[in-house]
């Protein structure tokens, strides 16, 4: 009897607990209803407590996070009448999946089904025409530049121009970003050292407080790198130790086709693109078809180099001794020219050799001259001794393939800098920095986009 009473009491208690559980389950706010097949376990109770985000553009594709309880490996999520794809069970109380598309704006139920049952949250996801949750490439090419700092692989450039090798660092005029970037070749870290991305300006200052406008050509003079800005028409420098930017010549934005000779900041330059120094002067390639000259001393007096013959646009320079080589662009032709700076003006203009159309950057190892083919996607070597021009890198077709010599491909190669047996090359087309080993002509991308 006692046993029966106890048994009865136990069953009453058990029944009470079950009812209490059902009552609590049905009254729990913000929980969906569910079919309960395992009443004995609260832990396994299947429920949905929240869905985020709860709205999506009608095309779906949005990853939603569902929180609740009772999620298992066999969970199926249904949105309206369609399965939610790519289900990822984080744990028994959280999962993610990707919403399907619908044909028109609508609010749909979301159901979760497991071997334990099914639970539904009504009108849980609202499909709309005004709620975007993702962006994707639809048509075109994503292989372009950017401004991200980071490692040599993740960092991006945006139409870079002149590289300058300084010890184990390489400074790059990141033209379209209005920045100077530094690539530490020892650590592989790329940092923005001067300027603010996408914000052009002419403000002098230290590092990222300064503002630049389309920096292009650069040249190293002692502890400073001098550079030209095509956008602002200024000649500026920054100190490598302090990153202090100082304007030394030019009148901001006075680029309207005229030039004037004067002391530094009163002079004007017509859209300068390149610069080199012999330690006494800066020589600047200007679109007006002149080689401008700025004294490195005093008030940085500016004038134009006096030649015996007028020239078209000098694009880039290389200096061997007192011989100043430059690429002259004249209509559809490019020519390698030379003047001897030791001569008494007017300097005699010498034609060195005809170059492929749209040749661009120059650099030298002190013996030979290297020319980039912006339009021909090759690098050529001009032997000063032999007067020969030879393609050393590039297939002739735009590409971005690291390889050796003419098996490698480059895309619109631009400015270069020679250092210790290597040429460092920026590619406008692929927004990266490459290194050419002159011993074997192997080409490797060392920073920026690999695409």
């Amino acid at each position: 009897m006692s046993l029966n009473r106890s048994y009865l009491q136990f069953n009453v208690i058990k029944l009470f607990v079950v009812f209490l559980f059902l009552f609590i389950s049905s009254c729990t706010p913000f929980r969906s209803t569910s079919s309960i097949t395992e009443l004995g376990s609260v832990i396994d109770q299947l429920s949905i407590s929240s869905i985020s985000p709860s709205s999506s553009f009608i095309l779906g594709g949005t990853t939603i996070t569902i929180k609740g309880s009772g999620f298992k490996a066999d969970t199926i999520v249904t949105v309206g009448s369609t399965s939610c794809s790519s289900i990822s069970i984080i744990n028994s109380s959280e999962l993610t999946c990707v919403l399907p598309s619908v044909s028109a704006p609508v609010a749909v139920d979301v159901s979760i089904t497991t071997t334990s049952g099914i639970t539904t949250l009504n009108s849980a996801v609202h499909y709309t025409l005004d709620s975007f949750n993702s962006i994707e490439l639809f048509s075109g090419d994503l292989s372009y530049g950017g401004s991200t700092d980071g490692t040599s692989i993740t960092a991006k450039l945006n139409r870079p121009s002149k590289p300058i090798v300084y010890g184990s660092d390489i400074y790059i005029a990141d033209t379209d970003n209005h920045l100077i970037r530094k690539f530490d070749t020892l650590t592989g870290v790329v940092t923005t050292v001067i300027g603010r991305v996408a914000v052009s300006g002419t403000t002098d200052g230290i590092g990222t407080n300064a503002r630049l406008n389309l920096p292009m050509g650069m040249t190293l003079v002692g502890p400073d790198i001098y550079f030209v800005e095509n956008g602002s028409c200024l000649i500026r420098k920054f100190n490598i130790a302090t990153y202090l930017v100082t304007t030394i010549a030019g009148t901001p934005y006075n680029c309207a086709g005229s030039i004037s000779d004067a002391n530094g900041l009163s002079a004007t330059f017509n859209n300068p693109v390149s610069i080199i120094s012999d330690g006494t002067y800066l020589y600047i390639g200007s679109e007006s078809g002149e080689i401008r000259r700025v004294s490195l001393s005093g008030t940085n007096t500016a004038d134009s180099l006096t030649l015996d013959t007028s020239i078209s646009a000098p694009i880039d320079f290389a200096l061997i001794g007192q011989n100043l080589y430059f690429v002259e662009a004249n209509g559809a032709t490019s020519t390698l020219r030379k003047v001897n700076l030791a001569q008494t003006p007017p300097l005699t203009l010498n034609t060195v050799i005809s170059l492929p159309t749209r040749s661009g950057g120059l650099t030298t190892d002190g013996t030979d001259i290297y020319v980039s083919g912006l339009g021909t996607h090759v690098i050529k070597k001009y032997s000063v001794a032999m007067s020969t021009l030879t393609t050393i890198v590039g297939t002739g077709t735009a590409g971005n393939t690291d390889a050796t010599g003419t098996s490698a491909s480059v895309h619109s190669p631009g400015f270069m800098d020679y250092s210790s047996g290597y040429i460092y090359l920026t590619s406008f087309g692929s927004h990266n920095l490459k290194k050419i080993n002159l011993a074997n002509m192997s080409v490797s991308t060392i920073m920026g986009s690999r695409k």
Partner: protein, 344 residues
């Protein structure tokens, strides 16, 4: 000297795409950097996108080609433009465009593409790909002049919308109306000089950058960094969003109506969802205007990060210089220098 400048310009054209942001400055120089960034985008009734673009790294500048993009697959085919910068009629890839700044369709006529090209209005028969100049003259962009066909003059063609049998053309300082049957051009909105004064019809002064139409209202993107509403019923021009901001300081704050600030350039565009929202591009943003509350909300912000990043989280996504933009039920398509991206 001009040849020299041109060649040098060609050689370094890749590098010089955003030094200037002022439309009026650009018009006076050969270096229309920003306009070369401009890509226009329009959708047709028969399921295609049409995008104008410039050839990157080519020997010429300016959006001079048009591609046709399948709205379902994204497959793009260039169908118009030789790449040479001229206003020269012709067929398909033999035709030449100088600087495409606007594209539009007449509703229900998916085979007739209207093109604003430099300071001309041109029409493309998409069945034959014949390009025909209908109004304006490329060699004379000094002023807006009423007239018929190529005897009329536009300072530029910055926006096109069709209203019934009339085409509305946004120029540098006016909106002209053009008969789609005779191509007779007459004054409609805006005085003869650019300005920023609300008013009625030609009593208002405006400086258009682009425009779109929703019902009987034109929404005008104005270089005064404002969005203006133009009623086609009474021709009243009313500023609804934005405020006068002097200088070029970056100022692009979300807010309501004239408390919001906008940072437009000539490469921006706007498109409505045919309901309650207006989407528009800024130099590095995609923003949305609630047409009921006038709340401006940035939905994708790339300020300070000049690159493209696809993402399922728009907070992490970036877009590189968006320009053209069109809303469809396939998503919000945004045209950049390099192609088309889709928000969905």
């Amino acid at each position: 000297m001009k040849i020299v400048r041109l060649f040098t310009l060609m050689l370094f054209s890749f590098l010089m795409l955003n030094s200037c942001l002022q439309f009026d400055t650009l018009l006076t120089t050969a270096r229309n950097y920003d306009e070369t960034n401009q890509t226009c985008l329009v959708s047709s009734d028969d399921g295609y996108l049409y995008r104008s673009y410039a050839i990157r790294g080519a020997t010429t500048l300016g959006a001079s080609k048009i591609e046709k993009v399948n709205i379902n697959t994204g497959v793009a085919t260039t169908i118009l433009g030789s790449g040479n910068l001229n206003v020269t009629d012709g067929i398909g890839l033999a035709a030449e465009f100088k600087q495409i700044t606007a594209l539009a369709f007449i509703p229900g006529s998916p085979q007739k593409l209207l093109v604003g090209d430099y300071c001309t209005l041109r029409e493309v028969n998409l069945s034959t790909l014949q390009v025909t100049t209908k109004a304006g003259a490329s060699g004379n962009c000094a002023s807006d002049t009423n007239g018929t066909g190529t005897a009329a003059r536009f300072t530029s063609v910055r926006g096109l919308v069709v209203s019934g049998t009339t085409l509305l053309v946004a120029t540098s300082n006016q909106i002209k109306q053009v008969s789609l049957s005779t191509y007779t051009v007459s004054s409609y909105i805006g005085s003869s000089t650019a300005g920023d004064t609300d008013g009625v019809g030609t009593g208002a002064s405006i400086t258009p950058l682009n425009m779109t139409k929703l019902g009987n209202i034109i929404y005008l993107m104005d270089s005064a960094k404002k969005i203006k509403k133009i009623s086609l019923n009474d021709l009243s021009v009313t500023t609804i969003v934005g405020q006068t901001i002097s200088g070029t300081t970056y100022n692009s704050q979300d807010g309501v109506g004239t408390n919001a600030t906008l940072l437009f350039s000539n490469m921006n565009a706007l498109s409505s969802d045919n309901n309650n929202y207006l989407y528009f591009t800024e130099s590095q943003k995609i923003r949305r205007l609630n047409l009921t509350t006038y709340q401006v909300t940035t939905i994708l912000n790339s300020y300070g990060q000049d690159e493209d990043i696809d993402s399922t989280d728009l907070g992490l996504a970036r877009i590189f210089r968006p320009s053209g933009l069109v809303f469809t039920n396939q998503g919000l398509f945004v045209s950049t220098l390099y192609g088309i991206r889709r928000l969905k």
